[in-house]
Symmetry: C2
């Protein structure tokens, strides 16, 4: 049981880390730039802070023993190439330095499948699949990981790096795949997608949050894929949403071209997450999509 | 002809970049934290600034068109593992962002042979030798390079990254190999070294400085080895210093163990530097060591 500081705590993933951390008995402190981010999480102590402006301030005030750093620039459509990624490298390194200076001992940070070289056959395996990011976002994450990993021992902390693959769930930004298809169908609109032959590893955001909470409590260091281990084609996912929404007729699969350079497969090996961290996802894709579509149905209902 | 800002301009390498940049016709602005760093360089405009405290300030004031960033933590014996490396990643990225924001167009930064995986046979080649740093210093440099390289296009700048190998010359810190052996012998002291079978690529610091000045004026992007292309054993170098100093009798080669993990060879392929940048070293190792020993002889003479 420790004092844990969670950054990005008001974000899509961050919100799902708070309950598991509380249930593990931690004293949970949450940072968010969003006003009202703490609504509905009364057992958490919220701190309103802009990590880009002052990465170390909140760490110095809270003096957390453990750090879960999820905050990053994540604007859909822009985050792959935005220069904001550079500022988040800087802020993340400053945050980790401050954490060590305040006698913190365990840091968990969020990475991405975008660190791996894409287009190779097979699943991405930590420590063996080449790290050759195709995007500024992937390079910024990979570079941050490299420094934190090399520095951890010198700073006297243990550090893990959860590499997020594809995720979905209630509350997702409407510009992202599952959210856009579900909200379109439930609003009676046509959903035009690419042919969807690309295979991806999807994990429900509540499982992603729980996996990060488990990483905070483990002593595993280095990179760990945070994923389901199951590959599904985007077409399967889109068709499942169509069925759950009761509007498969509104799907127009193949109406759009695939994004240029989109790899055929981005799949995860989850041996480390399962065997070393001891985390196994609780929500199957079928269940998770049903629950997500139900949530979007609530949103679509006229108020 | 451009306004060029040089960081680390008062340092061992930085001092040797100023004359070549002036000779190329540039308007040279130099940053240093050392007071009196500008003595003897009257055609250069000096700025006293601490880049760690305010990386963007001097860039905003000078608004340089080109940036040569050499400043980094370089305390002999400590820089391989010091947490200061993390702060220099942050400061360097902030500096590059500020430079792009001030409409700079060409940035040259200093990397290191420590970015490469050591212990592989053959010369290190940019773009093909694996980047697997063995030290925090190497990881910090490599991570900085990765972000700058991925960001350059998005920031609207062209960026090159000069990877420095081994260097020597007048004014070197006495804790480094050539300086320590030369100053010991000229003070009539015994110089105990390892067996010196390790092979390295040495380049005179004036050539290193001139190579960086050439990079500023080239449009080559990405990593470029800054080295001679010639491998010499440390023993050859030590023995040459003994001869030049006239005191081979004071050498005690093999009296010390090699540092643990010290690789047999760290050698550079210099095809890019020679053919793409068009730079060829002017000072042979024999000449350079003679001149360096002569300089140390001046220092050793009772004042």
């Amino acid at each position: 049981v420790s004092r844990v500081l969670v950054t990005g705590a008001g974000g899509f993933i961050g919100r799902h880390t708070l309950r598991p951390l509380l249930e593990a008995g931690h004293d949970v402190h949450a940072v968010s730039t969003r006003l009202g981010a703490g609504d509905g999480a009364p057992d958490v102590e919220w701190h309103h802070s802009d990590l880009l402006a002052d990465p170390g301030g909140v760490v110095a005030r809270v003096a957390p023993e453990r750090l879960l750093h999820l905050a990053w620039y994540a604007e859909p459509g822009r985050y792959w190439t935005a220069p904001e990624n550079i500022r988040w490298v800087e802020a993340t390194l400053a945050l980790v330095r401050s954490f060590a200076a305040a006698n913190g001992t365990r840091a968990v940070l969020s990475g991405s499948c975008a660190e791996y070289e894409w287009g190779l056959p097979g699943r991405c395996v930590e420590g063996s699949t080449p790290l050759r990011p195709a995007t500024l976002y992937g390079s910024a994450k990979n570079a941050t990981r490299e420094v934190v990993e090399a520095a951890a021992g010198h700073l006297g902390i243990s550090a893990a790096w959860g590499r997020i693959f594809f995720l979905y769930g209630p509350g997702e930004d409407r510009r992202r795949l599952v959210a856009s298809v579900a909200s379109a169908l439930l609003n009676g609109e046509r959903a035009a997608t690419s042919s969807g032959t690309q295979r991806r590893d999807f994990l429900h955001v509540a499982d992603v949050g729980a996996a990060f909470a488990a990483l905070v409590d483990s002593d595993v260091s280095g990179a760990v894929n945070v994923a389901s281990g199951e590959g599904r084609s985007l077409r399967e996912v889109i068709e499942a949403i169509g069925r759950e929404a009761g509007r498969p007729d509104l799907l127009d699969i193949g109406a759009r071209p695939s994004p240029p350079g989109d790899p055929d497969e981005i799949l995860a090996d989850v041996t480390r997450l399962g065997e070393e961290v001891g985390f196994r996802p609780r929500i199957s894709l079928a269940e998770g999509l049903a629950q997500t579509v139900a949530w979007w149905r609530e949103q679509a209902r006229p108020q």
